[in-house]
């Protein structure tokens, strides 16, 4: 199991107060901002930006990057790895 994705799911649940969800409920490729996925909203998007900085030391300042990075846990993990490798 990918520990980064596992950690991300735990951090998303905690940071966004998704108390009715568990890590097992979040698929790696589930769309975060789609009602068929997690159904997150614009405030949640801001919380994800805070999450990236708080847990991973990454500042996201380009909104276009955010659109791509926050599609799913898969894309978030890929974005974090890319930023840390740079």
């Amino acid at each position: 199991m990918d520990s980064l994705k596992e950690d991300l799911k735990k951090q998303i649940i905690e940071q966004l107060n998704l108390e009715d969800l568990t890590v097992a409920d979040i698929a790696d490729d589930a769309l975060l901002f789609n009602d068929q996925g997690l159904g997150l909203d614009s405030i949640d998007a801001l919380e994800l930006i805070v999450l990236l900085e708080k847990y991973h030391g990454i500042q996201l300042t380009n909104p276009e990057e955010g659109k791509e990075a926050f599609k799913s846990v898969d894309t978030m993990a890929a974005y974090i790895r890319k930023r840390k490798a740079a």
């Binding site: 405030i43 919380e47 900085e53």
Partner: protein
């Protein structure tokens, strides 16, 4: 005449609807008191977990009133139910939590920030029920029945046909919530200052 058709008292350890206990706080539970009620009622509204305590209280009490008064939403157009709430502490509890979120060098929490106004609870109830009528939230020194009477006269004379009134004083140390529905009926508990004060002080019968 205008009558109080349902009411809910939510306090630190018990929750009553129309004078009957519907939930008692389970001491020792790992869940907060409001979360205990939410789970007991088996509602499914994930946004509940994201709300601050003031909005959670408004959500719980209004949902309990709807359950006690089924068909309320269908009986009125979407702009005919007015919301008139008040409290003494505004959103002070959430304001403090928001300050704490960045005081230690952390980032200000966006999800806390959106609740740093007391009238957000009205928006939560309006969005959930698609009630687009008049609404207002007043900050008053204490619960004053006359405030609701006076304001309701204006609202009920200008398009509103029903009113959900509420006193929501929720702080870290205390919970004093009283919500009530006012409608036009031929008989019932008349909507007046005496009855409102009496119902706000309802105690559970043991």
């Amino acid at each position: 005449m205008k009558v109080i058709t349902a009411y809910c008292n939510l306090r630190a350890d018990e929750c009553l609807v129309n004078g009957k206990v519907v939930a008692r706080r389970e001491v020792g539970s790992e869940d907060s008191w409001f979360k205990q009620i939410y789970k007991q009622q088996a509602w499914v509204y994930p946004k509940f977990y994201k709300m601050d305590m003031l909005s959670q209280a408004g959500y719980l009490a209004s949902e309990l009133i709807k359950r006690a008064n089924p068909g309320i939403s269908e009986a009125y157009s979407d702009d005919e139910i007015a919301l008139v709430f008040a409290n003494a502490s505004s959103s002070a509890d959430t304001d403090r939590r928001f300050i704490q979120s960045y005081e230690g060098g952390g980032s200000p929490s966006p999800s806390l920030f959106v609740y740093t106004l007391p009238n957000i609870v009205l928006g939560e109830i309006a969005i959930l029920n698609k009630w687009y009528g008049e609404n207002m939230f007043a900050v008053l020194p204490k619960f004053v029945p006359g405030f609701y009477l006076d304001y309701s006269r204006i609202l009920l004379a200008s398009g509103s046909r029903a009113l959900l009134g509420g006193w929501l004083e929720v702080t870290a140390g205390s919970t004093d919530v009283f919500l009530f529905m006012v409608e036009e009926k031929e008989s019932g508990t008349e909507f007046n200052e005496e009855n409102l004060l009496h119902l706000s002080q309802t105690v559970a019968a043991y």
